[in-house]
């Protein structure tokens, strides 16, 4: 985004300029630069939560909006997420050590028969960036595994992902299993994936359909606010 990038020395920028530059670096998927910027802010005495919220999450929100609006595509978002991951790697140990209380807890997984996890991983990363504790069950997850995770982790939110029209009906199986086990009301169920829509979400008994990772974060925050 900046033709004179080679001339920029991050450590010489003011806090405000550095944040702006980190937005650009996130947008351009420059992992090393985002990590460097994160470390500089920490060295300047910023606490990890502030770096997370004001630099990384705010930067990824710009990426999320441009993805939603069709300006950025999946490859660019993946590069941005990878850059955010580099910053998170520095922040996570500090956040854990300082006992920063998570905004909420989410269990997430791609349903049985489906191995696609790019969207799920983006959601997980964005949710983590937004201050949620995320338990990722991975891919090809059976209904019983979701139920067991609910009992073990007691999440506020359960997220399910599917990319295939052939696997999305399994979300209904999971929700029916939750009902049978009497645990459906314990958490908010969010669903997402390319072939889904709001109508499908409503029919299977989920609480909301999330079109993309940025929407998932907003919806999750909204449900947490309603719970408070």
């Amino acid at each position: 985004m900046n033709d004179q990038y080679d001339d920029i020395v991050l450590a010489e920028l003011s806090d405000e300029e550095l944040i702006e530059q980190m937005y650009d670096d996130l947008y351009d998927g420059l992992a090393d630069e985002v990590a460097e910027g994160t470390q500089i802010l920490l060295n300047r005495g910023w606490d990890a939560t502030r770096v997370l919220e004001e630099a990384l999450v705010a930067g990824m929100t710009i990426v999320g909006v441009d993805f939603r609006d069709g300006i950025l595509f999946v490859p660019e978002v993946l590069m941005a997420a990878n850059a955010m991951k580099a910053g998170m790697a520095l922040l996570r140990p500090i956040l854990v050590e300082t006992g920063a209380k998570p905004v909420g807890k989410m269990v997430i997984g791609t349903v049985k028969g489906d191995i696609h996890d790019i969207g799920k991983n983006l959601v997980g990363m964005m949710m983590e960036g937004a201050g949620f504790e995320v338990v990722d069950l991975g891919i090809n997850v059976e209904a019983d595994t979701f139920v067991a995770a609910l009992e073990e982790h007691r999440p506020d939110i359960l997220g399910m992902s599917a990319l295939l029209t052939t696997t999305m009906p399994y979300m209904q199986v999971v929700i029916d299993t939750l009902k049978k086990q009497g645990v459906r009301e314990q958490c908010t169920v969010l669903v997402g994936g390319a072939p889904l829509n709001e109508e499908f979400s409503r029919v299977i008994g989920a609480d909301a359909y999330c079109r993309d990772a940025a929407v998932a974060v907003e919806v999750a925050k909204s449900f947490m606010a309603d719970r408070a």
Partner: protein
């Protein structure tokens, strides 16, 4: 109007197979108009493009048929076709209608981590898969896309030696097990025959 003529609005990625099936069956009353195969990577644009073509051409033909499956449109193609009287190929995507429904579901059940190729995708792998996923610019993204895939299944229509060799190299490039499965044109032909065999029956 062209007497008893049928227009098939088709995905460009299956044009070669459609022409072969038409010639094999002697369907002189069937004409094809193809939309760009690149829509494969932008399924949200398929319903609008199909509908636009239907509106532009339907008065010139006695019947219109759409040679797309759902193709990642998440039901939006069916919504677009509602009220037009135009039908499409049943199924989720071209892998399903090229393999045949039962065979496709067996393959998916056998290994969920299967990445499918057709003749067209073998030939245009670089443009539609590598460039389409941005791997030409950012090869480091490959693990993000492919780490859960175990094998590449080439569902062959013609399946020439050259195509098989290309498909094998695509699998090797991504570090996937290579499976070759010749299906020919018969599964797709079986789906098209009832709707295209006799224009009078469908007018």
């Amino acid at each position: 109007m062209q007497e008893r003529s049928v227009l098939v609005i088709a995905c460009g990625a299956i044009a070669r197979e459609l022409l072969r099936i038409r010639d094999m069956n002697g369907w002189q009353h069937v004409q094809f108009q193809c939309l760009p195969a690149s829509l494969h990577n932008s399924p949200d644009r398929i319903p609008g493009a199909v509908l636009e073509k239907i509106r532009a051409e339907r008065d010139k033909f006695s019947r219109v048929f759409v040679a797309y499956a759902d193709c990642g449109t998440a039901g939006e193609l069916d919504k677009a076709l509602e009220g037009t009287g135009v039908e499409r190929i049943p199924g989720a995507h071209c892998y399903e209608f090229f393999a045949g429904r039962d065979v496709f579901f067996e393959l998916a059940e056998e290994e969920a981590g299967s990445f499918y190729l057709t003749d067209f995708l073998v030939q245009h792998f670089e443009r539609l898969v590598i460039q389409g996923l941005g791997l030409d610019r950012n090869p480091e993204l490959a693990p993000y896309y492919f780490k859960n895939y175990k094998r590449m299944v080439y569902l062959a229509q013609a399946g020439s030696d050259k195509l098989q060799s290309m498909a094998k190299s695509h699998a090797d490039r991504l570090g996937l097990e290579y499976i070759y499965l010749y299906r020919g044109d018969d599964p797709l032909r079986a789906l098209l025959t009832p709707v295209l065999e006799n224009s009078e029956a469908v007018t």
